[in-house]
């Protein structure tokens, strides 16, 4: 049974359909790259899954449970973790405090997910220990007492990823994690994602533009264009397919795929929810 699935997920803003009936299933332990040009609806699709946006139609299913009525915080506690494309952290708190807040939100313990009014925050050693572990993993160990507002852009992108990992979710949703990172910083994050993939229990969704990263990490690619799912398959043949070229390069249609993203004619029809595990 697929861990996460969206069923005819749709959202309309006024007349404009931003996400157009996307049906897709994500297996536990796989990394699916989500590709598509600007304004294709990738971030909007994430907003629908993580609950920031209410869908006009369709559902989001986790472990077979329908999440549609749950608030973003309930979905996160159900195991849906998300990092954002536009960095949005807690600027006037320190790096350590940012991570500890995420660790505290989901990990069980005396702090009762933050609803504990009477113990001293710093007494909860296990939170600090876990936070330090994660900071070292993203190479932010020595900046733990710096205010996030003073961090350079690359470090803030690292903290976005660290915040997601601190939630220890079952589904990791990365939205262009290495955008704005330089050649030294990006590999650190990509190694992290690779390690996550290797332990085979996590489901990872990765919105990414860099095709070399996608080729290397993705078990499978889905392509969104004008809000619709236009391709879904193995990395090698999806990248080479005319649909991606058309979706990315905007070449006027040659092979009958209408511009408004109706189902492609070639063999790469979106894969129905598969019954058996890979």
């Amino acid at each position: 049974m697929s861990l996460l699935a969206t069923q005819d997920l749709t959202v309309r803003f006024g007349g404009h359909v931003a996400v157009n009936a996307v049906t897709c299933a994500f297996e536990a332990g796989t990394l699916t790259a989500i590709v598509g040009p600007n304004g294709a609806g990738k971030t909007t699709y994430f907003n629908l899954i993580s609950g920031q946006l209410k869908a006009s139609a369709g559902q989001v299913m986790l472990d077979g449970h329908d999440l549609s009525r749950l608030s973003p915080s309930k979905r996160t506690r159900a195991g849906l973790g998300r990092a954002f494309q536009l960095t949005n952290l807690f600027p006037r708190l320190t790096v350590l405090e940012n991570i500890r807040l995420a660790v505290q939100a989901t990990r069980p313990g005396r702090h009762r997910h933050g609803l504990n009014l009477w113990s001293i925050w710093s007494d909860h050693r296990e939170l600090t220990a876990r936070a330090d572990e994660i900071l070292v993993a993203v190479a932010l160990g020595e900046k733990e007492n710096e205010l996030v507002a003073n961090l350079p852009h690359g470090d803030q992108r690292k903290l976005e990823v660290a915040l997601l990992m601190a939630l220890e979710p079952r589904v990791f949703m990365f939205d262009e994690p290495t955008a704005g990172m330089n050649a030294v910083e990006a590999p650190v994050i990509l190694n992290l994602i690779r390690k996550l993939k290797e332990d085979r229990t996590k489901t990872i969704l990765l919105v990414e533009h860099k095709m070399d990263v996608v080729r290397e990490l993705a078990d499978r690619i889905i392509v969104l264009h004008n809000g619709a799912l236009v391709a879904d398959g193995e990395p090698a043949d999806v990248i080479a397919s005319p649909i991606v070229q058309e979706a990315y390069l905007g070449i006027s249609p040659r092979d009958g795929t209408a511009q408004d993203g109706s189902a492609p004619s070639s063999g790469l029809a979106p894969r129905a929810a598969r019954s058996e595990a890979p």
């Binding site: 006024g14 007349g15 404009h16 040009p37 600007n38 304004g39 494309q85 960095t87 600027p91 507002a149 003073n150 961090l151 350079p152 852009h153 803030q156 262009e176 955008a179 704005g180 990172m181 330089n182 533009h209 860099k210 095709m211 070399d212 004008n226 990315y248 390069l249 905007g250 070449i251 006027s252 249609p253 511009q259």
Partner: protein, 241 residues
């Protein structure tokens, strides 16, 4: 009359604590169409906003037609006959299409004073603008809003057009109209600077190109040369054209 209408030298921009542009050098030749390409977050939109003075360059210089406009306030930059279409199109939703156009036409006190010839030309390029003339702009679809945004930029003769992703959400036939429009504008001596994702659109229109990554221009040259050079495209844009 220098060859370049607009030149940026070593421009740095900070937004709050974030350091976005790390020394941008860019020259936009007079009478030509320059394409600004690059991945998300590379700093394309920040560069345009810094040129327009919406964000201030913390270091470096920007000059237009030989004049330093690094610290010039936005209204005065626009007053130098520079038209700007932002990424979110900047449509005034509660005003009608006609009122949007009237605001763009600085010389016109009321709709009657808008240059009829030019308006007819715009209607021929973007029929939706005429069709919804007295309609609140907020009711238009994404593509129609994009057409209105571009129409506002060309309602009066301008020396420099700066447009952030003109082709976004437009049907191919409209994109072709836009390509004709830009060609005619170039012919009449207007200089154009476009940010684009749609590489094919860029290839068909661009004279010169600049590719940005991580807040700096990593490649600049003629569009033709880049179009033929498969290998650089791949390394710069991660995808073969």
């Amino acid at each position: 009359m220098t060859a370049d209408l607009l030149t940026l030298r070593g421009v740095h921009t900070h937004i709050g604590a974030y350091h976005i542009l790390h020394g941008v050098d860019l020259s936009v030749p007079r009478g030509q169409l320059t394409m600004l390409l690059g991945r998300n977050g590379a700093g394309k939109t920040t560069t345009l906003r810094t040129i327009m003075g919406l964000w201030h360059a913390s270091k470096g210089s920007i000059s237009f037609d030989g004049r330093d406009i690094t610290a010039t306030p936005t209204p005065r930059i626009a007053g130098l006959n520079i038209a700007y279409v932002p990424e979110n199109m900047g449509i005034f939703a509660d005003l009608t299409v006609k009122e949007n156009m009237l605001l763009a036409a600085r010389q016109a006190k009321h709709a009657g004073q808008i240059d009829d010839e030019r308006l007819k030309w715009i209607f021929s390029l973007f029929p939706a603008v005429e069709k919804f003339w007295n309609h609140p702009a907020g009711k238009l679809s994404g593509g129609q809003k994009q057409m209105l945004a571009v129409s506002r930029a060309i309602i009066e003769p301008r020396e420099l057009l700066i447009i952030d992703e003109p082709s976004k959400g437009l049907a191919p036939v409209i994109i072709n109209n836009m390509i004709d429009a830009f060609a005619q504008l170039k012919a009449s001596g207007v200089t154009i600077l476009l940010v684009e994702q749609n590489i094919n659109f860029a290839k068909r229109l661009g004279d010169t190109v600049a590719v940005m990554d991580n807040g700096v221009v990593v490649h600049a040259g003629s569009m033709q040369a880049l179009a033929e050079d498969e290998e650089t495209q791949h390394s710069l844009l991660g995808l073969a054209i």
